[in-house]
Symmetry: C2
DNA sequence: CAACCTATATTGTCTGACATTCTTGCAATC
DNA sequence: GATTGCAAGAATGTCAGACAATATAGGTTG
């Protein structure tokens, strides 16, 4: 048996389960930005003890999905626009690079997956379910990132995208944004399918600038 | 009082203290890569209870400074060269961008700080203290990152650099590497001081490629 | 020497407790 | 009426102790 093949089965611990559920809840927008999370409530809702919950919260804090202020406890960060801008900028740096690399190296079978995820987004885009839109769009990116040949790029990107999920959900709800997003993503897909690195970078960059602009609009229109 | 000015005083909690001490210990190379950390031992050494320690370990796990396998506990990750390469690549992406931005926007007083940190590295480079070399070099980068105008770029970069501290320590010990590093860093400094964005990017990229090569050499020469 | 088994070490998780700190509502004061 | 001060309640930070489940090491047996 090859030693580098890690077959260790990982039993899901309570802690991991808790992190998973909380992360999903946060990304789904279940908690209002700025709202506080009460340990005792979460313990009751999740059915775990306080130590396990607190470990989970520390993990999420390190991921920057929540903030923990000493003696005040955990809360959902309320991202300012300048912070969101900074995240969008770094995301652009990473995602453009990933799209470019992906164009020259994605295997055909993964390209099919990418096509499928694009179709899934198309389906979601014609509905009004903005959560489904965000989720399917995230699938699309994650296939690109998974095939850029650099797992760290993927990991960092995932972390950043998670932190702006709130904005992404809001901007997808804008009139026409989903459709426009769809055509931009199709451009990215076609550049990658054609193996055209430069075009993939360009398309990716264009998409991100528009996404950022949409996020900003959605922010101004409400706050 | 302007609301964005956060005056909240943050009492250092046991958990934060513990994370800080452990992080420092890891970055200093106190633990062998691959070695396991025993909770009971760490509790005794740090003088904290097991719940507090475990919270700290979860934070470090999320930072990727340690790994925690269910039922086996925490250990120091043994980075493979391919993982290290991936980190160096993303680091290059970020650091080159930061150096470029820094060149056009660093305030003069921060430029002086940068100069001072370069001098500190020069001092360390002529010694044989490779830990001091790594630390002063890290100061140099962190000033650049702190003045690139994007705090997220800074944050992500810091996280990545922390993960390869082991390699950086090793490669600094290579014959002549510190001196060569010094001249590369001086180039970066001078490009930034001249406000030449393109030159800063080039110098930064050159420096990183050499650092990566040195890390690879130091790895091959031992394992 | 290999396989098995047992004892020990270690982790995962919970309960319960208590001091400290924050929040909130109300009373007192200006 | 607004502000200050205070007290009760709520929430967090931290610890001690316990126990089951799992992993590791060492010895035994074939």
């Amino acid at each position: 048996m090859p030693p580098e093949l890690n077959l260790r089965i990982s039993p899901r611990t309570v802690q991991q389960e808790t992190v998973g559920k909380l992360r999903l809840a946060i990304l789904s927008g279940l908690f209002e930005p700025g709202s506080r999370l009460i340990e005792s409530q979460l313990c009751a809702q999740l059915g775990v003890s306080r130590p396990s919950l607190r470990e989970a919260l520390r993990s999420l804090e390190a991921e920057r999905l929540i903030e923990i202020v000493p003696n005040r406890g955990p809360s959902i960060p309320a991202l300012s626009w300048s912070e969101a801008t900074a995240i969008y900028e770094v995301r652009e740096l990473l995602e453009v690079e990933a799209a470019g690399r992906c164009a020259t190296r994605i295997p055909t079978e993964q390209l099919h997956e990418l096509e499928k995820s694009l179709a899934a987004f198309e389906e979601a885009a014609s509905s009004n379910d903005s959560l489904a839109q965000v989720m399917t769009a995230a699938d699309f990116y994650s296939i690109i990132l998974a095939n850029c040949g650099n797992p760290i790029l993927e990991e960092v990107h995932r972390g950043l995208v998670a932190r702006i999920s709130f904005f992404r959900g809001r901007s997808m709800s804008l009139e026409g944004r989903a459709q426009s997003s769809l055509s931009e993503m199709r451009e990215i897909y076609e550049s990658i399918a054609a193996g055209d690195e430069k075009a993939a970078r360009k398309a990716s960059k264009r998409h991100l600038l528009k996404a950022k602009a949409a996020a900003k609009m959605s922010m101004n229109s409400e706050s």
